[in-house]
């Protein structure tokens, strides 16, 4: 068995090769038909799977740090967690971070990840000053914002080349703690109002109860916050709990999910409450449980994440949440967030509007059900997040990504389509 993705589905045989140096990589590119770079395996679906996989986490030296301007240059296999470990205590944090710190810098660029501050800071590419990448002909190119290679590669799912190193800009902080406000809402209307009311807060995200029905649809816990200013920079990665084996598939049935959602929601105080929490609790709650993906059992799971344009979000979410609630295929986690403006990258996911992300255990009938959700997403002009996806059709993909033909053209022009491919890229024909 070879490498698997975070969703543990599909399981495909693959041949792994570790990235160690540029010379070796050039040879590998020359001698390998088609392959896909793979970072720390946190993509959920098949975007980093293929017969040949280049494992890049072994390529992980810090190369330079400009203390004056907070500019870090490092190799692409460095994880965001390693950056935090080195720099939080010196008063620096990532400008943009996704909900797990266990992704590599190369992966963060290739997925153009975003976080709780998308509405104020945009995607990861916003903090990338420049990066170097090895192309299909073995040439190493350096590029920055404005270059076509930059806009194709950020969000380009590893399909333009192998990112080797990046210079990223960090953010100054004066505390390793966050002042958090939690707002408990009773329905979707209140949830939207809360997002609007708190849109000046730099960080925001909501956990939504997907099993709520009728007038309760869209009730949530909205968590907003900003860094404290207390000078306390003490940060040590928490010791992790671990799920040592795949849970039997009955462990996560409808009832247990319901119980979990209910407990989580009930735990929060009514209305508005305030907390002071650490970086790991606020930004990376799930990283505290190593291999949490195993709770879905050995059959694996997928995360369905879509975004709808802001004007369509209310209607669209109401419809989709109702479908999910009716289906009873509840998810352990449903995350709702209001995003800021779209960027210029060809395949970046975010656009201005609301995004919902939910997990589903892989089971018979699931993909048919997700196809019906796709129909609604397409109807409302939305798109699906490739980093989470394992099953989206070419048509649904194309309807959400108007720049996909430019991306295809760019790949053809530079012969990238013959070298870099994933199961996903073959499915949606990019």
């Amino acid at each position: 068995m070879g490498l698997i993705s975070w969703g543990m589905y599909p399981i495909v045989k693959n041949k792994k090769r570790s990235l160690r140096d540029a010379v070796g990589l050039a040879k590998y590119i020359e001698n390998t038909d088609e392959f896909i770079p793979y970072g720390n395996g946190r993509s959920y679906g098949d975007s980093a799977l293929n017969e040949n996989i280049l494992y890049t986490k072994t390529y992980n030296y810090f190369m330079d740090f400009d203390e004056q301007n907070g500019l870090l240059t490092c190799q692409a296999g460095v994880t965001l967690g390693e950056i935090l470990e080195a720099f939080v205590k010196r008063g620096w944090f990532l400008k943009v971070t996704p909900g797990t710190k266990l992704v590599t810098v190369g992966g963060a660029i290739a997925s153009d990840v975003h976080g709780k501050n998308h509405h104020t800071q945009g995607c990861f590419s916003e903090c990338v000053e420049e990066f170097t990448i090895m192309l299909a002909n073995g040439e190493i190119k350096s590029c920055k914002k404005g270059d076509e290679l930059f806009h194709a590669t950020c969000g380009g799912m590893g399909l333009t080349g192998v990112i080797l190193s990046a210079k990223i800009s960090l953010k100054k902080i004066n505390s390793a703690f966050i002042n958090q406000t939690t707002i408990k809402t009773k329905n979707l209307k209140e949830t939207f109002e809360a997002f609007e009311n708190y849109k000046d807060m730099p960080y925001s995200v909501a956990w939504i109860d997907c099993l709520a029905k009728n007038e309760e649809i869209g009730k949530c816990l909205l968590m907003v916050g900003d860094f404290a200013n207390d000078g306390n920079l003490g940060y040590k990665s928490k010791k992790k709990l671990s799920i040592p084996f795949n849970f039997p598939s009955f462990a996560l049935n409808n009832l247990s999910v319901k119980a979990f959602n209910w407990l989580y929601y009930a735990k929060a105080k009514d209305g508005v409450s305030k907390q002071r929490v650490g970086i790991d609790t606020f930004f990376y709650p799930l990283d505290a449980i190593e291999n949490w993906n195993r709770i879905y059992g050995s059959g694996g799971f997928t995360q369905y994440q879509f975004i709808l344009p802001k004007e369509q979000s209310f209607e669209g979410l109401k419809e989709i949440l109702a479908k999910i609630s009716d289906s009873g295929k509840g998810s352990f986690l449903a995350v709702l967030k209001l995003y800021g403006q779209e960027n210029e990258n060809y395949l970046s996911f975010p656009m201005e509007g609301y995004s919902l992300a939910l997990d589903f255990k892989i089971e018979t009938g699931l993909f048919e059900f997700l196809n019906t959700l796709d129909e609604a997403v397409v109807k409302y002009g939305g798109r699906i997040y490739l980093t989470k996806d394992v099953r989206v059709s070419k048509e649904t993909f194309e309807s959400g990504y108007p720049q996909c033909d430019k991306f295809r053209e760019f790949r053809r022009e530079h012969k990238m389509d013959r070298k870099f491919s994933s199961l996903q890229s073959k499915r949606v024909k990019i």
Binding site: M1, R17, S18, R20, T58, Y61, F62, M63, D64, F65, E82, E85, A86
Partner: protein
């Protein structure tokens, strides 16, 4: 600030061990052949943790240089970690004596040569820790890699005796027995991933075990159980098996 000396610093495990000790406030001597190739690692560690890192030229099979090497360290290390290892392909080692000899010299003879010197010094000072990275392969000879395994078996026995000798002087000795680890050395082997550790995992385990003054560390821990079973298979059965 205290220095830790890492012997065989070019391996993947050594690289992570170096990072973990630096992260926890130690300065480092990184010793290896062609040590200038470690410049990138030195730089990496300095940026990550601000530790002082010195690269030292060292050949574990040039036994007569070891005494001079150790004396040349500007400050006595508080700990020495031997990570050097050489795993010849078993069939190659069966055919070519030089492969067998190199396996013995790197994994056993050379390690003893430098550790004898270190042990005498630490014993006199009544201070310090020694870590030797041996292998589960040393727990029982199997046809798949008994030449490497026998050298590691010798090294494990040496570390056990050394621990016994140094007990009274308060110097601790840790024997590390990794099972499968994803490294350069095993890149082309098909390893069962559930039994295979990442080098950074091994490094954290080593640091924690050493700080807790433990004696023997299996990493991943499941290997203790696996080797317990393997060691107890009766020889008349074992000789017929292919494991």
């Amino acid at each position: 600030m205290s220095y830790v000396l890492i012997i065989g610093a070019k391996s993947d495990i050594a690289k992570e061990v170096a990072r973990v000790y630096a992260k926890n406030g130690y300065n480092l001597y990184l010793a290896a052949r062609d040590s200038s190739s470690l410049e990138d690692l030195k730089h990496d560690i300095e940026i990550r943790s601000g530790a002082d890192v010195e690269l030292k030229e060292f050949d574990i099979t040039s036994y007569d240089t070891h005494e001079g090497f150790y004396r040349s360290l500007k400050k006595r290390p508080v700990g020495v970690i031997v990570v050097s290892g050489y795993m010849a392909e078993q069939t190659a080692a069966q055919k070519e004596w030089i492969e067998t000899l190199n396996t013995i010299n790197v994994n056993y003879t050379g390690a003893l040569s430098i550790l004898n010197i270190v042990a005498n010094d630490f014993e006199k000072e009544r201070l310090g820790f020694i870590v030797g990275v041996s292998s589960v392969a040393g727990d029982r000879g199997r046809k798949a890699n008994y030449i490497y395994g026998s050298a590691k078996a010798g090294f494990s026995a040496y570390l056990s005796g050394l621990r016994n000798r140094l007990y009274d002087s308060g110097v601790t000795v840790l024997t590390v027995k990794p099972g499968f680890v994803n490294t350069k050395m095993t890149e082309n082997l098909e390893l069962p991933q559930k039994l295979t550790a990442q080098p950074e995992e091994v490094a954290e385990d080593i640091f924690n075990a050493q700080q807790k003054e433990r004696n023997v560390l299996y990493t991943k821990p499941i290997w203790m159980l696996i080797m317990l079973i393997i060691k107890h298979i009766p020889e008349f059965m074992f000789k017929k098996m292919s494991i």
